[in-house]
């Protein structure tokens, strides 16, 4: 899946570590998601969407 997580995170003024701590995962996981090397679980996708106050499909789109 593609995602616009880096843009959203930077617009929010967050580092990868900040976002990781906010959604309860490691910084390496956020980094892997942003580089399209790891597709998050549905739980984590919901957490991210809730954090940015948007829908999952606003962040993630199929390849």
């Amino acid at each position: 899946m593609k995602n616009d997580l880096p843009d959203r995170r930077e617009r929010a003024g967050l580092s990868q570590a900040d976002l990781a701590e906010a959604v309860g995962v490691t910084r390496q996981t956020i980094n892997a998601i942003e580089r399209d090397r790891y597709d998050p679980s549905l739980d984590l996708a919901f957490e991210l969407a809730a954090h940015f106050d948007c829908r999952i499909e606003d962040i993630f789109t199929p390849d």
């Binding site: 990781a20 701590e21 309860g24 995962v25 490691t26 390496q28 996981t29 892997a32 790891y38 998050p40 679980s41 739980d43 984590l44």
Partner: protein, 137 residues
Amino acid sequence: MSVSQTGFTRQTYERTVYAVVGVGIFGLLAGLLLDQQVAGTAVYLVGCWVGGAIAVLAPKFTDATLQDERDNDLHNHASGLTMRIAMLVGISVIPALYVLDAGGYVELTATVWGGVWVASALFLLYGVCFGVVQRRR
């Protein structure tokens, strides 16, 4: 005070576990080299048990995220890949070894038989674990 408040981060966690287990392995090798096998084995066992205890228990006693879903995903993929390779090699090699040994074409050493038994036990354990996981889902 939680562990995270003491600064126990993921990096510290990984380094601590690797360091403790590393000391154990170093102790074992040193024991072999210095002809102090019992002492070396003791250091190895302590290192493995303490390292294992930290690896298992630390995530339970901290608010810091030491492991997450990606770690589990990596573990599952690595385990699956390991078993696929072991099964591919095992299934193609072990029956052939049995037949060649039974036919008197080769004589398998005790070491090779040990490997065959270990591989067989691994496949059996995998089958049991697969059945348990399947029943629980």
